[in-house]
Symmetry: C2
């Protein structure tokens, strides 16, 4: 991060017509954006949400409340503009890229999606590794190249989102692998599974960890053994944003697992991340704590798709507008503190 820009941003914020620090976390975000972009008065960014969709072999174990074909169906819903993520993206004026990085089925109408399919979903991680190491690396590279493209197109703020039936199971396995915390302390209800399903979910993760023995010191090992293609792709997005100095918003639990992979690969990448919200999915807090990040919003959301990140884009915009548009004490002729 650019310390000089952060210092100047702090000085500018302190000169504006408000008690010092009284805008709390908005000021913190403005300073962070200054540090990332190197501009102490940052531009209001052109915004992009990257939503990666993929399927998970582990759904065979009965870990999700919804059938697997919902992944394809929701991709179509995104393309047609009817999902929550579309509503939120329009609201904050973010563009939305929907990337098929590993959906099992065929998407009937490919207009409107970005086809980067690496495999037709992962394999069932309770029976062996979810994907090859090469596939995981390829998926990370897809994420990085998306950010390169976004940068070339002038985007200055990126949100992360995902769709994939079964992906809270993979994310929980990733968190367990890195943290050593037992599955039952990380697993949540995802899209709303019942008590029996929750037990199956815990058992599936236990089995996946036992069968694969992912090495926490090797994030790509964790990713390929118990992760997912969208998780790998988004890890690439986080790495790309750090490399290209673009602030990037973590959404919920799955996006957080991807952020954690990126952070484990490159701890510095954490400096470029902003935690948008705290998901109801309990493992999300574990992820954020591991990276030392504090979420901006807490609205009891647990939808994913990038919805929390999109909402937080409005907060980032506001924080930048504060530093850009407010008058200083001098400009406004307002008396200072006595």
């Amino acid at each position: 991060l650019d310390d000089e820009a952060m210092k100047l941003a702090q000085e500018r914020l302190d000169s504006l017509t408000k008690p010092q620090g009284s805008l709390g976390r908005l000021e913190e975000v403005a300073i962070r954006i200054a540090g990332i972009t190197g501009k102490y008065i940052p531009d209001v960014p052109r915004k992009l949400s990257i939503l990666m969709a993929a399927d998970h072999g582990v759904v065979e174990e009965g870990v999700s409340a919804f059938p697997q074909n919902v992944t394809v169906e929701m991709v179509e819903n995104f393309v047609n503009g009817g999902a929550a993520m579309n509503v939120l993206s329009r609201h904050v004026r973010s563009d939305l890229w929907v990337v098929d990085i590993g959906v099992k089925g065929d998407i009937p109408d490919k207009r409107g999606i970005i086809d980067k399919k690496i495999a037709r979903g992962t394999s069932n991680m309770t029976k062996g590794q979810a994907m090859d190491r090469d596939e995981a690396i390829k998926a990370i590279e897809v994420g990085i190249s998306m950010v390169e493209q976004a940068k070339a197109m002038g985007y200055g703020l990126i949100g992360t989102g995902e769709m994939g039936i079964g992906n809270t199971t993979a994310s929980a396995a990733v968190v367990c692998a890195f943290s050593g915390i037992s599955p039952q302390d990380v697993v949540g209800r995802g899209t709303g599974i019942d008590d029996e399903g929750l037990k199956r979910k815990v058992r599936a993760i236990e089995k996946a960890l036992e069968v694969n023995r992912p090495d926490p010191a090797d994030p790509v090992d964790v990713l390929s053994k118990v992760g997912g293609l969208e998780i790998a792709g988004l890890a690439g997005v986080f790495l790309g944003c750090a490399a290209m100095r673009i602030p990037v918003l973590i959404d919920g639990f799955i996006s957080g697992a991807a952020a954690l992979v990126a952070y484990k690969l490159k701890p510095l990448a954490g400096e470029y991340m902003i935690a948008s919200h705290l998901s109801m999915e309990r493992g999300h807090r574990v992820e954020l704590d591991m990276m030392g990040l504090k979420p901006l919003l807490n609205l009891d959301m647990r939808l994913g798709e990038g919805t929390g990140a999109a909402l937080a884009m409005g907060i980032v915009d506001v924080s930048i507008k504060i530093i850009r548009e407010m008058a200083t004490f001098e400009e406004a002729g307002v008396s200072q503190k006595e």
Copy 2:
């Protein structure tokens, strides 16, 4: 509230392409707006922030970090568009009415403000009552009439804001009078007073309560003895919104004191209020707890002006857009939960 509209709103939310309840508090807000407006698919509202400014005789006691003339100076800043509240109002596309309901000094350029001055600030409440009962009632009526006007102009969502050096002291006194909690457990640093000032602030409130003995069973008595003109005016705004079925956002601590007065006068008025955020000013939580309200945002803000309410307008807008714009499972051809 309209129970039928709330029931239909809940059913509609449950039919949309997302796990039920997964948008958390956004869904709660949408249902509340349906109940207030009687429309289960509410319109995206035209938004208005009403900012009331007034001065406080108690500043003679050295309770504020800023000099009294900052009230006038900030009113000018609002008119010129340079304050945080202007930035936030523009961001969420809310109009902003700046009302002089009791500023001590003369505002040099009255274009751009609404002149409803009832008195040149309150009297020093440590030496007698802050204002006459008649003045308090008149200020409440100003608030109500502002809402009538707003309703006639088609506004469908109102935010509350204030400016007035010394008004966290008056607000704390109001909260103490209603709750019986001792001043030192309610008082905060306002615009940033030091330790010595904080002691003066506590003593001033203790003295004001002792000298005036406000009757907690008579909210207008509390208001006139230890309140403020902007607090009374905003209490009228809350009452007017309840009477005219317009959802109204509580901002921070001072706006919360006004909400509490309205709630004590008419407990049903609480149903029309939405708590926008939790202020860093510690008494704010006391107020919200007394009304059983849970804030939407917690961004460590403590600026007032209506900034928290303005930020939350974006959340309200989004919650309404969710219920208006998302596709149902049937429309999108997405499979339901198994």
